[in-house]
Symmetry: C2
Subunit: 359 residues, 2 copies
């Protein structure tokens, strides 16, 4: 087991990464030091892993909320249902929310924990590659609004993250690929050596090679933890973690959050960001080609849905990174050199959108 710490003063917490962690009762018991536990999971994950968790916590009062599986349930209405369960069971401020699932479960359960009684403890047990390398780290919790993703949420840190790489064996290939997109993102933001490593090890990752997976997850969490440690509430640098996301969100929103997985949309978003960066940030054409090639190696899509540039632009304008009416974009000077900018020619954005989304 490897442990790394997200350094946030009194909100610091450990991320534990290793094989078979869910089978280690003492580890779970120590991570969850509460009497009353709300276990939030979904109909796909709960049958696989909830029994192990409950068995480890047999001496506690564990109440389960099993949500339907899917991004469309990451809503304020679902959060309200979870609040109802907490209240109905008279859970107090010393209760703990244990999120067992992917990003949807983690984001929603974290938001509920952030708001219930103005904040109770929560622990993340991410069960998808994407949530292991991204959403379980850094304390961004949220639910979606019909008008846009993650529009209602809170910055709220978990007290611990338990990442068991064994659970990836039951993950559908498409979900694995979606997680790889976020891993590729970290290389593109600030670690070109990691990007090169990924170019050489993508096949091993897709074959679930344990050593390769542990390294990729650890390095991804490390990059994210460092950035979050310097800028928890996204006043500046943390926005770099949204590389590819502004475009990706447009894809997800335009297709109703059901057709594309988040990571798949981010993958295409990374490529669109690279193309825009070639236009305005001086990113070499060769780097753009390497991004496209690595996405393909990961089995990811590289073509956006042809929703039209105008519709895509509409979704950009509700993005959370809008400042004074202007969309700030994460761009790159080259692989591993991301920066945030609201200062780019509109024409370049329009061209990029037309190229990617159609006229």
């Amino acid at each position: 087991m490897q442990t790394l710490t997200v350094e946030l003063e009194d909100r610091s917490y450990p991320i534990n990464i290793g094989e078979g962690l869910l089978g280690q009762h003492s580890l779970l018991q120590a991570a969850v030091p509460a009497r009353d536990i709300l276990l939030v999971s979904n109909t796909t994950v709960a049958p696989l892993y909830a029994p192990a968790v409950k068995s480890a916590l047999a001496d506690r009062r564990v109440v389960e909320v099993i949500l339907p599986d899917g991004e469309q349930y990451k809503s304020l209405a679902t959060a309200a249902r979870v609040f109802d369960v907490l209240v109905a069971n008279r859970f107090g401020r010393d209760a703990l929310v244990l999120a067992l699932g992917g990003g949807v479960v983690g984001d929603l359960a974290g938001f509920v924990a952030a708001c219930y009684q103005r904040g109770i403890d929560y622990v993340q047990v991410p069960t998808t590659l994407l949530s292991q390398v991204d959403s379980s780290v850094g304390g961004k919790t949220a639910v979606n609004h019909p008008g846009g993703k993650n529009l209602i949420g809170a910055f709220y840190q978990p007290r611990e993250v338990l990442t068991d790489t064994d659970v990836l064996k039951s993950l559908p290939e498409r979900e694995l690929q979606a997680g790889l997109a976020e891993i590729i993102k970290y290389g593109m933001i600030c670690d070109s050596a990691f990007f090169i490593w990924l170019e050489h090890n993508m096949a091993a990752l897709r074959a679930l090679d344990a050593t390769a997976l542990a390294l990729a997850i650890h390095r991804s969490c490390q990059v994210k933890a460092q950035i979050v440690g310097r800028d928890e509430r996204e006043q500046g640098e943390r926005a770099l973690l949204n590389l590819g996301h502004t475009f990706g969100h447009a894809i997800e929103a335009a297709t109703g959050y059901v057709e594309w997985l988040h990571g798949e949309a981010v993958g295409v978003g990374l490529l669109i960001a690279a193309r825009m960066s070639e236009r305005v940030g001086g990113m070499p054409a060769d780097d753009v080609a390497r991004v496209e090639a690595l996405l393909k190696l990961a089995g990811l899509r590289t073509a956006a849905p042809k929703i039209g540039a105008a519709k895509a632009a509409g979704y950009l304008s509700i993005d959370k990174k809008v400042k004074s009416g202007r969309v700030r974009l994460v761009l790159m000077k080259g692989l591993g050199q991301a920066y945030l900018s609201g200062d780019y020619p509109d024409a370049a954005l329009q061209e990029t959108l037309r190229e990617s989304f159609g006229a």
Copy 2:
């Protein structure tokens, strides 16, 4: 105008208290440095004061949400409606929520500001005495759940509070009295000299004497700001501000949040806390009598509804101050000497509940 600061490092903010502040355009303009402003008010307050606010902000984009008046609208459903307005108007992270109203408006608007896009700025313009001395200060935002008050919320500080004492002239007498209960509370917690001052100046306060009001509001905010500055997230000392509230919440909940004003319930709660303190905290009987006398001077009720001790105890157990299944109470050793305790004989609590709520 007097200004005091709530000291919370990068979340510090000023509370401005004075006569006629809403008529000073430059003051409002400086307090609200955003282009996009969501003005949240209610059907009672908006006709009286929204025109002045909008006139001062004529160069901004001001969108109004006017809620029905009443505690029953401080709900997640109402918050959802306000989120809808923010999204429909494509308000970004740089938008600002301006709460113009009493505690219901301020708590709800603050909660929406805390959650929208994971937190946007908000400014409080409290228009009741109660919100001026209590809910507008300290960053406790929340909505109610049918199972209990303020069960869903966030600690989230405003960027400024503008307290215009002139607005109290239009406040119904019952609302004024409700605010006086919270003012009395501050004396009981930690300032016996202020309690004595109140014994001598209650008539002036009820007659809306401007000098007396300004002094009472300033001193109340000062006490609250000092405590909040030392314990923002209620890890310890801040819980003292809940003196009377655990019992008061039981009264409100048992009567459906409509029959009793919050401050009225807190007033009776203060007396019940004093009686419990006489039993277990060594509070002199004479101090208990002075509390009852001062509440009467303020025109407040002193008798709890006869809902029965068992029902009252049920409401206590869902209170946010429950720790490990035990209700922690704010008690007093005497006037101005409050302390927090989970360590008291259950029989004393039962006796106190029977005495106050009936068998």
